[in-house]
């Protein structure tokens, strides 16, 4: 080890690995990953969300999955849960929409109303 800067570089690289194991994630993003969700393309959506979260260094966000919530026709479904606010359900999400949801809703705090289940119904 030559310098503190080198140590810092390794720390930053390894940090993302370890923060996943914290219990104190404030925001939870849940992707429906049942058969219906996967068939509709939930996997690339999940990947896009994780990618965006990692790129923006959002350590307080946990990306998890869930089963079928019953509205299979609207899959892929993504739910965003921010403490103290009502859960927001996004439907028919694709990779592009997913990235937008992360940047708009989670970072800027503006719900992307046009993708929500309310707008689709």
């Amino acid at each position: 080890m030559k310098s503190l800067a080198e140590l810092e570089a390794i720390r930053n690289r390894a940090k993302g690995n370890v923060t996943l194991r914290k219990d104190d994630h404030a925001v939870r993003v849940v992707v429906g990953m049942a058969t219906c969700g996967i068939a509709a393309g939930a996997r690339p959506v999940l990947a896009a969300i994780m990618d965006e979260v990692a790129k923006r260094n959002l350590e307080h966000v946990a990306v998890t999955q869930t089963g079928c919530i019953g509205v299979c026709r609207l899959e892929p479904i993504v739910e965003v849960m921010v403490p103290g606010e009502e859960k927001v359900t996004y439907v028919k999400v694709d990779e592009k929409k997913a990235a937008e949801i992360v940047s708009e809703h989670i970072v800027n705090g503006r719900i992307v109303t046009k993708y929500t289940i309310g707008a689709a119904e």
């Binding site: 080890m1 720390r11 390894a14 998890t64 869930t66």
Partner: protein
């Protein structure tokens, strides 16, 4: 698609290894491959989570699902339900974590709620065999800070200011020890780590080395810089193969990353470490015996002074600290002495790890702030006594400690209050006893251990503990006299004041404390020739209650010595001359007709 979306943490401590975690990890890897998930989930073998009673343990993140007592057959279900479909397998969850439909965070579970993990902070969180994970949670930052920003005396001042005391038993102020070693003028000095954890029931040092070996390595390098030593030795029991292996891997990785070796962080400071395996003698945990053993001689203590800080390894000044003490160092450097001082009691700062064992629900490892009461540890964190039995006593400090009776259960636990009630902190073993334990038998158990482990160098310990044991044996066989009790007490005090090292000086503690708090039990053994708890075999008698006996002959068939006779359909009898008091008859009787007196 190469993205890790979840981590599967499996405990790889000694407890879970013996309950089969390796088979589970293998099955998990096979199942992940079968479902094409091996790139999405990372399987990590960590150190001990502390809740050994429920092992093998598996935690799946980011959900934080805490699966307990997992078997290889359960793994398929976890993969198919939880990992593929996102449905947590509720039946395998640790029951305490399930609350209605939610999974409670681990920190809210009773077992963890009152805990504060400083020394154990990374155990069960990181992969101990991967230095990058340790660096990822601020590992080696403290060493970097010390080498680039602080002078040795400043480091020592921080440790002194923090109030940290030795976690190996005695509770000597750590900063003072560092100062003494620093003050000793010599070209060659050493630092050493005492990982010869010998107290029956204590396993915190093993868990730290298994779960977070770099914390100890980093702290030893800091200590080396502070006292002016560039060589360190870790003296560890050969009976800890997993810890030895992981420590070896960690040292090799630290060398590879330049965190051990020459010119660390270009500061001009060199430091390296070597492992020395102990040969299994309890006395080698005593500092002078440990030093003698590292030098390659038979592990025997020698009189102090000179203390190791003046003349230790090869007569050079040596700093010797315990594993758990070292595990606190990096946190004190990073968070400051004031942070550390804010935890604990007036004279005992910080936290202490206890190994909970005996008659308690949550057998395992817990870390609490100093000053937590015994009641909180036993009833809240430990989950109380199983089978509705009543708490009788807790034994702390292993063979050097004493028993704390029920009326003192609200004692806040720290070095001084334990001393005041005739026990000691020791390394932190905490064995809980219920009404089925005989206190005389407990004292005898610990004495038997010290008799075995006495190195034989000094007479008070070699002969004294043996005589003490013989008197205890006499009492438990029903041949004791009241004079024996007085003689025993006198003998205890002479051993305490004349033995050469800590082993002998503390060996009588289990006898003295039980004699103090449970004298009535001793008197029952001597005067009435009964063992109130029904443990001491020679004082126990099994009898068949004629009214309840149906004459089925089952007990007679089970009796290994043929002590039970009788005619079918009429009451049987036990010949107490032949009876070996094994209790098989009582267990086998379907009518509860056999009683123990």
């Amino acid at each position: 698609m190469d993205m890790v979306r979840g981590h599967i943490l499996c405990c790889g401590g000694t407890g879970c290894t013996s309950s089969g975690c390796d088979a589970i990890i293998k099955e998990m890897e096979a199942q992940l491959a079968a479902h094409d998930l091996e790139k999405e989930f990372k399987v990590i073998k960590t150190g001990c989570f502390g809740l050994c009673a429920l092992g093998p343990i598996m935690i799946v993140y980011p959900e934080g699902a805490f699966y307990s007592r997992v078997t290889p057959e359960d793994v398929k279900e976890i993969v198919e339900e939880h990992l593929v479909k996102g449905r947590v397998v509720k039946r395998l969850l640790y029951a305490e974590t399930v609350e209605e439909d939610n999974i409670k965070s681990l920190n809210e579970v009773d077992f963890y709620k009152k805990q504060m993990r400083v020394a154990l902070r990374n155990c069960g969180v990181i992969n101990p065999e991967d230095i990058e994970e340790y660096i990822g949670i601020d590992g080696y930052q403290a060493l970097g800070k010390v080498l680039t920003e602080m002078k040795p005396q400043e480091v020592i001042d921080v440790i002194k200011e923090s109030g940290l005391r030795g976690r190996g038993g005695g509770g000597f102020p750590t900063g003072m020890k560092w100062q003494f070693t620093y003050n000793s003028q010599n070209e060659q000095k050493y630092v050493a780590c005492n990982a010869d954890e010998g107290d029956p029931g204590a396993f915190m040092d093993r868990s730290i080395l298994e779960g977070d070996p770099h914390a100890v390595i980093e702290a030893m390098a800091i200590a080396g810089y502070a006292v002016g030593a560039n060589q360190g030795y870790i003296y560890i029991r050969a009976e800890y193969p997993i810890a030895v292996k992981r420590l070896g891997i960690a040292i090799a990785q630290a060398r590879e990353y330049g965190l051990l070796g020459k010119n660390i962080f270009e500061s001009g400071f060199d430091f390296d470490l070597e492992i020395r395996l102990g040969a299994g003698a309890f006395v080698c945990g005593e500092e002078t015996a440990l030093i003698t053993s590292i030098e390659g001689h038979r592990g025997e203590p020698r009189p102090r002074p000179p203390f190791p800080a003046v003349a230790g390894l090869w007569q050079k000044p040596t700093l010797l600290n315990n594993v758990e003490t070292y595990a606190n160092i990096t946190q004190i450097i990073l968070n400051g002495a004031d942070w550390f001082k804010s935890i604990g009691t007036e004279k005992s700062k910080g936290t202490k790890v206890f190994a909970l064992g005996g008659k308690i629900k949550n057998t395992g490892l817990v870390e609490v702030p100093m000053g937590t009461t015994l009641r909180e540890i036993v009833e809240e964190i430990g989950g109380g006594i199983p089978n509705g039995k009543k708490f009788k006593a807790a034994q702390t400090g292993g063979p050097s400690g004493g028993c704390i009776p029920e009326h003192l259960i609200d004692t806040p636990i720290d070095y001084d209050s334990l001393m005041a009630i005739g026990s000691m902190m020791g390394s932190g073993g905490l064995i809980v006893m219920d009404e089925d334990n005989c206190m005389v038998d407990i004292a005898k158990f610990f004495l038997e251990f010290t008799v075995d482990e006495s190195c034989g160098k000094c007479t008070p310990c070699r002969v004294g503990t043996k005589r003490l044991y013989e008197i205890l044996e006499k009492i438990t066989s029903g041949n004791g006299t009241m004079e024996d009790l007085d003689r025993m007490e006198e003998l205890c005090y002479s051993i305490k004041s004349t033995a050469l090292c800590g082993l002998g000086q503390t060996a009588p503690n289990p006898v003295l404390s039980t004699l103090k708090y449970f004298r009535d039990e001793y008197e029952a053994h001597v005067r009435d020739k009964v063992c109130p708890a029904g443990v001491c075999k020679k004082l126990v008698k099994y009898e068949i209650v004629a009214d309840k006996c149906k004459g089925c002959s089952l007990c007679a068939k089970k009796c290994p010595v043929g002590a039970i006779t009788g005619e079918i359909k009429s009451p049987f009898t036990i010949d107490s001359e032949k009876c070996v008091k094994c209790g098989v008859c009582m267990e086998s009787c379907k009518f509860g007709a056999i009683i123990k007196k």
